[in-house]
Symmetry: C2
């Protein structure tokens, strides 16, 4: 069992004792937010970006965080020092607390956990991803809530469809994967990604930043049909960087040519992350 | 602090120690189900109905409950004996368990809590309810999941609108309140309630049963316009029995005449519940 230290509210405890009372509003009513970032060699990657999003999620969800960003940063650095898991994922969570009535937001519970990050398989980029489309719009999509009900529920469907992950769409427009943002590359090498009704990933933001140096970039609505006909397609995520999308609904995406733009962006993104922590 | 006994997985613990590890799939990803029933004089009301729905929710959500309905019933009766809270609410919850990957359903956690039920105010029926409509469709509506994200999040909105609760609608059709079913009475005393995209309440079921003895009853789509023009409107819930809806979006519902059908149904429903436990 993982016995890394976990921070809860005001104290560090071993993971095996890191618990919340069952009256917590996350357990009772699914009410909570989180953020997730990685460390490389004990250095948190894009920590300020993740903290900014976390505080924004808390504000939007009316969760009165008790810690300032500076305090949270100090706690995170202490967690990293205590645990010594150089390449890790760190999750900061905030729930609705322990309400008397089981229904109202009260003093939130803050939980920070750290776990070793499984390295991406060496052939992950070559293998790419097969996605299956699903008509669903997440509620409050721009806030990083703990609502993954459909994503978890649909896992057997994803397997049945011989896919690796879901691609949500609504009214014919693609939005996102449950834990990644989606991009396509058009015939003229424009990099395009949906702009609305999505969680704006930190890796998405940095991908757009490096892409703008090299290509024309558009944040706009993308139809399923347009996506199917794209020259290249890829996802971005904290743990996966950039991975090509090879199939949607069992049919190939792309024209069978090498995925030049995707590969190049993955390279420059990895270099950019390296510089950021260097 | 409430120190009633709580049942977790295989053991009774005091409420102050009733906790789940933070790796639980409810805390991590909002993944869980529950059911809720009341006791009157230590007798569970409609227990078989609630257990049937709970097992159905578990099956639909792919949660492999470890206990048989008979075992669960025995545990519930032991909880009632231990706690001696004659008029109580009992909540049975089942979460996705403690997955290694933080994302997949594993052996579920079962939690059963009991709390005293605050009696309904003596004038609750006379005061009735003011609802405010909101365009929202719950995901997986027919399953009693822990997803109350919008309901909790919209509480300030409900207050701002000087309402008591939400009435969800989508595509112009009303569905339900977050914790109650909705009914209307037409000019010819037909009792009408939505049939689709709702959680089918146990009290809704019994209300329909007693209503069928007295009135014409229809389960069908109901538009917001039709609802606004209804002769009477009411909600049904485990804790509230039947309460009239007096306002929607700040405007009166009903023609200002006494709510004869609503009052009569509340009377026969209460009598029916009394007989059921008698």
């Amino acid at each position: 069992m993982n016995q890394a230290a976990v921070f809860i509210n005001d104290t560090f405890v071993p993971a095996g004792e890191a618990a919340l009372l069952v009256t917590d509003l996350a357990t009772q009513r699914g009410y909570g937010i989180f953020d997730f970032f990685k460390t490389i060699n004990n250095i948190p990657v894009f920590l300020d970006d993740h903290l900014a999003r976390f505080y924004n999620s808390a504000a939007q969800m009316r969760l009165p965080l008790q810690q300032s960003p500076e305090q949270l940063k100090a706690i995170i650095h202490e967690l990293i020092q205590r645990n010594q898991i150089p390449d890790a994922g760190i999750r900061i969570s905030c729930t609705g607390g322990y309400p008397q009535d089981g229904y109202s937001i009260t003093t939130p519970n803050l939980v920070i956990t750290q776990q070793p990050l499984t390295p991406l398989a060496a052939d992950a980029f070559e293998k790419g991803l097969r996605l299956v489309s699903y008509n669903h719009q997440r509620q409050l999509p721009e806030i990083k809530t703990i609502d993954y009900l459909m994503a978890i529920w649909l896992q057997p469907f994803v397997k049945e469809q011989q896919a690796d992950d879901l691609l949500y769409y609504r009214h014919g427009l693609i939005t996102e994967c449950p834990r990644a943002n989606i991009f396509m590359v058009t015939a003229d090498d424009t990099v395009v990604t949906p702009s609305r009704n999505i969680l704006k990933g930190i890796t998405r933001m940095h991908t757009l930043k490096v892409a703008r140096e090299l290509y024309k970039v558009e944040e706009r609505d993308v139809t399923l049909e347009e996506f199917r006909a794209a020259k290249e397609a890829f996802i971005s995520s904290t743990t996966k960087y950039i991975l090509p999308v090879l199939q949607l609904d069992g049919k190939p995406v792309g024209n069978g040519q090498p995925r030049v733009v995707t590969a190049r962006l993955n390279g420059v993104l990895r270099e950019y992350v390296g510089k950021h922590i260097g």
